[in-house]
């Protein structure tokens, strides 16, 4: 069985691939339509149908070709772009501007995102209050639904959330794919620990000031979502930081290194998600008996999660986001999705099928709404 896998990888026949896609087809149909597709508005119908087909075709090709990251990235990047579009569109409709005012803060009208979660923990524990000025239940991007989604996804996928659920990750993932070869090939390993330093700083500063300091001062994605109105030197400085970090870590460095540098060197939620890799059932395993140490996986890993030492020791680091890029690159099918407790090199197909179903279903359901809205908006704009 293993010999067959080595030569054919994870490819499946047309019939098997269709069979594996069928549950995804049915579940996404139910989620997207509620069981009753509504084609009364032509633009909505076209948007719904296009996204439904896109989601299922990508999943089919994951099975048919045996490639994971190649098709995951398409939906992941489209998700990131469409969610920024949806957020900006919502703000332009509600506020007529991308910036928020002090009044919006006081009225708790700021859309919530998962990057705030690390800062909420200590203040919530000690003061029984939520330090983010957003809506707890109801309204656009409310706090409770995002926290629950993140918690469930992280407990199941671990840092897989960063490659299958995060609606920002697609930005630097997309830019990291622009060049064929990296201009900057080597970066000091020390920088991998930066998200932990950022995490410590933002947790402490948020606990001491009862303010979401990462959102106020650091988050690069303010550049493509909402930001504070520039009315003082301080708010101008903040805007400068957001734009510099977005330009540097989300655009320039990913293009130059072919890596997801914002996720690797800044994101504090990524640091927490890395730790959650320790408790999740899904993992990435290295079959040392199949590995010929070509280290192609090390070169392509977008999060600096693999080193030559990791490959030799047969263990991936906690930074792994289970994106599948290393598996696509491996000519021996030696690196594969696995389940904790199951020895590496065994149940490769079963583990992959199970992981792909769970992670892809999460991404598909989570992303489809905003992609449909964006596509619908674009159709209305064009026609």
């Amino acid at each position: 069985m293993d010999n067959i896998l080595k030569t054919t990888g994870m490819k499946k026949s047309l019939g098997k691939s269709l069979l594996y896609t069928l549950p995804m087809f049915l579940i996404t149909f139910m989620f997207l339509t509620g069981g009753k597709p509504n084609f009364s508005d032509t633009a909505s119908g076209i948007a719904l149908l296009t996204v439904f087909i896109l989601v299922n075709v990508l999943f089919f090709f994951m099975h048919f070709t045996g490639k994971t990251d190649k098709y995951r990235a398409v939906l992941f990047i489209v998700f990131a772009l469409s969610l920024s579009y949806a957020l900006i569109n919502n703000m332009l409709e509600v506020r007529k501007a991308m910036y928020f005012s002090q009044a919006d803060i006081l009225e708790c009208k700021i859309p919530f995102c998962h990057l705030v979660i690390p800062m909420m923990i200590l203040p919530a524990a000690f003061t029984k209050s939520i330090i983010f000025p957003g809506s707890i239940i109801g309204g656009f991007a409310n706090i409770s639904s995002m926290v629950v989604l993140w918690l469930v996804a992280t407990l199941v996928l671990g840092r897989g959330f960063c490659s299958w659920g995060c609606f920002y990750g697609g930005w630097d993932d997309g830019f990291s794919r622009i060049r064929k070869r990296p201009v900057i090939k080597k970066i000091n390993e020390l920088w991998k620990w930066m998200p932990y330093a950022v995490l410590i700083m933002v947790i402490l500063s948020a606990a001491l000031t009862l303010m979401p300091t990462y959102c106020s001062w650091i988050c690069p994605f303010k550049a493509v979502t909402e930001f504070e109105q520039v009315t003082s030197v301080e708010s101008a400085t903040k805007a400068g930081i957001f734009l510099s970090l977005f330009g540097g870590l989300v655009i320039v460095l990913p293009v130059m290194t072919k890596k997801r540098t914002q996720c690797s060197f800044l994101c504090p939620l990524g640091a927490i998600n890395s730790l959650s890799n320790k408790i999740t059932p899904f993992t990435v395993k290295i079959d040392k008996s199949a590995c010929n140490e070509c280290f192609k996986c090390v070169g392509v890993c977008p999060l600096y999660a693999l080193s030559k030492e990791d490959i030799r020791s047969g263990k991936v680091s906690i930074f792994c986001s289970k994106c599948g890029k290393c598996m696509d690159a491996c000519p021996q099918n030696a690196i594969h999705y696995g389940i904790k407790g199951v020895p590496s090199g065994t149940l490769k197909n079963f583990s992959r099928n199970l992981f792909l179903f769970v992670s892809y279903l999460f991404m598909a359901v989570f992303s489809a709404g905003s992609i449909i809205n964006t596509f619908h908006g674009l159709l209305k704009f064009i026609f």
Partner: protein, 207 residues
């Protein structure tokens, strides 16, 4: 007080990385005697607190005497913040960072009872960029109490790292903690770099 606490916390880890292994054997000389360890650690921390209180007083009076006009009060400390913050960032990214610890001089102290006090003195007077930043901050505070609070934040932040000193030898993956500490120090430097720039721009606009 928040920024000084963060500065203390971040630089304290780097301080422990360079000095911890020098101070550890001296503070833990009679490791079998818990009471002695507690007394020595307390003496060490009290000495640091006293030195910082003196520095807070001196820095504040210096600031009152020198930074009289509002523009100077913004621009000069702003420039100092930038210089020391760059030094702090340089410390965190430089491969040739100096690993030597000023506490090494404790080897010359013959009276064992004085060791924790000498360690407290050398540790708090080891003029590093973080201490220069907190001196600048203390000198620009409006009241003496605020200057004390700034130094207290720095003291508490940096002291937290010394409390688990007895466990230092047992902590696994010390290299990882050291790396995170060094990066956090660099981040604290960036925070004060921005603070310095904001001070200067604010001073120019308001001046």
């Amino acid at each position: 007080m928040t920024d000084s606490l963060i500065l203390g916390l971040s630089s304290g880890s780097a301080c422990l990385a360079t000095c911890g292994m020098v101070m550890f054997p001296y503070l833990m000389a009679d490791s079998a005697n818990v009471k002695r360890i507690a007394v020595d650690l307390s003496l060490f921390l009290i000495t640091r607190l006293i030195i910082y209180a003196i520095m807070a007083t001196l820095a504040w009076h210096f600031g009152q005497a020198v930074f009289k006009s509002p523009v100077v009060r913004n621009i000069v400390p702003g420039l100092l913040y930038i210089i020391f913050a760059v030094m702090l960032v340089w410390y965190s990214i430089s491969k040739s960072r100096n690993p030597s610890c000023p506490a090494k001089m404790v080897k010359t102290v013959s009276n064992k009872r004085l060791v924790p006090i000498v360690l407290g003195l050398t540790n708090s007077l080891g003029f590093c960029p973080a201490l220069f930043i907190i001196l600048t901050k203390g000198s620009t505070e409006r009241t003496l109490v605020q200057s004390y609070l700034a130094f207290l934040g720095f003291f508490v932040g940096s002291s937290l790292w010394f409390l688990p000193l007895p466990l230092a030898g047992r902590i696994r993956k010390k290299e990882v903690i050291k790396n995170i500490g060094i990066l956090a120090t660099g981040l604290a430097g960036v925070i004060f770099l921005i603070k310095g720039l904001t001070n200067i721009i604010g001073g120019i606009i308001n001046g």
